[in-house]
């Protein structure tokens, strides 16, 4: 691909999305709630698309396709179990939404701090999110750098890709906060899914004679990819469980998506958001997995699984324009995840750290702090990505397992009056530390993955420490009473 073409494609994509970002500013008010939650008035359709774009990063078309290439159908099960973990949003969505409106929460960790009546809980959980999610963003940035360098045949260097991604993500986040992120996400989600489907159809019909041909080839040439066995193969049961369990809780453990539970205008809009995402996710997952299977049939013997997608796009049967659009689509998938993380983390810094340290901080000063921190967080991610340290990969992999340690506290907030702030702090600190240690050391006690240990230890610590410390019963009863009474009015289970 020529440099001009690649830059032209990126330029057009950035300009169109920027126009969307500025359009989203119309009618925008002031304040933290407006900036980070779209004034809690987001419509269902845009919410569904931005939820999809935020959730699905470049991992799907690169990582999941690669996992399928190497491990086969287990990749489908793992990703669909994640998708079905959205049932937690069906339970927790109305609860977050009701509590968010009543107590004016902006960040998910603010809910924990208030419910457990502890500034320490808010500060600690917000810091934990930053510690895990900044390296996660760095890996996303590195992904964009490598992808643009690889797909452009070196026309765009790793560093240029990195700089473009950071500048664009910060710019879109700063224009109008959630509004600009949501609108650019919506555009990007459509681009991601349309391009992914188009590439799949071209590859399957031109390369394998249709889906019947793909399935027949799989059954004949690589039957082992179509089954999983408990103790053999890439997806043996312990690996499958270790990978899928942390992701099952993703929709409540990852703040950049749980914050979205505050944003719909009505519960009907939340329903559209969730159903829209589920349909998008099912299609996108199937398409990504079929990309991986197609690559395995058309280009067997690749040295690295992550090469499956770039190699697929480099096939002569894929028109250059489509390959170019695919590069933009995958870049869009990564940027739409990163800008949402920048936005959410900056809201946590302002709301959970700054506001708790400076109690009289006005709404305007919180907003100013968060706007200052959007580029600071981006620079931190950029510097991590630039260093290309092995430690970043460890932290990033630990992110999904590490964020799991807050899940018992989130359950406790809505379902257990005896949960205490000491329980939250102990479970977050110790289980989070353990998760990082296991990830870093590569230890697998009893053969179980860090995520499994993280959830077990955090449950034990949260329950155990809570039982021997004094809960704030008045706060718990007031909070849970309000939520439960209103759930009844809204007929939500």
């Amino acid at each position: 691909m020529s440099a001009t073409l690649v830059y032209a494609a990126m330029f057009i994509y950035i300009i169109i999305a920027t126009v969307f970002a500025f359009m989203s500013k119309r009618g925008m008010g002031r304040g933290m709630t407006e900036y980070f939650l779209g004034n809690r008035a987001m419509g269902g359709f845009v919410s569904a698309l931005t939820y999809s774009a935020t959730t699905y990063s470049a991992f799907m078309m690169i990582g999941l396709a690669g996992l399928t290439y190497t491990g086969g159908v287990g990749a489908l099960g793992y990703e669909l179990l994640y998708l079905c973990g959205l049932v937690l949003a069906v339970y927790f969505g109305p609860r977050f939404w009701l509590a968010g409106k009543k107590y004016d929460y902006v960040s998910p960790t603010e809910l924990l701090g208030h419910r457990y009546d502890s500034k320490g809980v808010a500060i600690l959980t917000a810091l934990a999110c930053c510690i895990f999610l900044i390296p996660y963003s760095a890996v996303q940035l590195m992904g964009i750098g490598y992808l643009m360098e690889g797909l452009s045949g070196g026309t765009i260097t790793f560093m240029t890709g990195l700089i473009i991604a950071v500048l664009v993500a910060v710019f879109w986040a700063l224009i109008a906060g959630l509004r600009s992120v949501a609108w650019t996400d919506a555009l990007q989600a459509l681009l991601m899914i349309v391009v992914a489907i188009a590439v799949l159809l071209v590859v399957v019909y031109k390369g394998l004679g249709g889906f019947g041909g793909l399935f027949a080839a799989l059954e004949a040439d690589a039957p082992s990819l179509l089954a999983v066995t408990p103790k053999e193969g890439y997806f043996k049961f312990s690996t499958f469980l270790g990978l899928s369990l942390p992701w099952f809780f993703f929709c409540i453990s990852n703040p950049q998506v749980s914050q979205r539970l505050y944003t719909p205008r009505t519960l009907k809009d939340m329903r559209v958001m969730l159903i829209g995402f589920l349909i998008f996710g099912l299609v996108y997952t199937l398409v990504s997995v079929l990309w991986g299977f197609s690559a395995r049939m058309l280009i067997p013997g690749l040295s690295k699984a992550d090469l499956a997608t770039p190699s697929l796009l480099a096939l002569p049967i894929v028109p250059m324009l489509l390959a170019l659009l695919a590069m933009v689509g995958i870049t869009a998938a990564a940027i739409s995840t990163i800008d949402s993380i920048f936005l959410t983390l900056s809201s946590m810094v302002a709301r959970d750290i700054y506001k708790n340290l400076v109690p009289n901080a006005s709404d305007d000063s919180q907003l100013l702090v968060s706007k200052i921190f959007i580029p600071i967080i981006a620079i931190a991610a950029f510097l991590f990505a630039r260093l290309q340290l092995g430690l970043i990969a460890v932290l990033s992999t630990a992110a999904s397992a590490g964020l799991l340690v807050m899940v018992p506290a989130i359950f406790g907030a809505f379902f257990w009056k005896k949960g205490t702030s000491a329980g939250v702090i102990a479970s977050t600190l110790i289980a989070g530390g353990l998760s990082f240690y296991l990830q870093f050391s590569g230890l697998r006690p009893l053969g179980w993955w860090p995520g499994i240990w993280a959830i077990i230890v955090s449950i034990i610590l949260f329950v155990g420490v809570s039982l021997v410390t004094q809960p704030n019963t008045q706060r718990a009863e007031e909070f849970m009473g309000y939520v439960n009474n209103n759930l009844k009015l809204h007929n939500a289970i």
């Binding site: 669909l80 079905c84 059954e219 589920l278 289970i493």
Partner: protein
């Protein structure tokens, strides 16, 4: 503060009914997720066909999504 529900909607569900529904749906999803972990690794581990684990997990997702559509279909907004 919340106001009364729309008059054209069904009456507010008694809390006990919601608790029962919550328990029932929780069990439905516990069973679904357990099946998603167990069946492909046991019954279907020897089926090297597209109608094996691939079809099973796809159907599992479709059924789960259908259940979520039904649950959220009961949600209602207040006027």
């Amino acid at each position: 503060m919340e106001t009364s529900p729309k008059t054209n909607g069904p009456a507010p569900a008694p809390k006990d009914n919601l608790s029962t529904a919550r328990r029932r749906w929780t069990w439905v999803f516990v069973v679904l997720v357990l099946l998603a972990y167990v069946v492909p690794f046991t019954v279907l581990s020897g089926v090297h066909k597209i109608y094996g684990a691939f079809l099973f997990w796809t159907l599992f997702a479709v059924v789960s999504i259908a259940c979520m559509i039904v649950i959220t279909g009961n949600w209602r907004d207040l006027s």
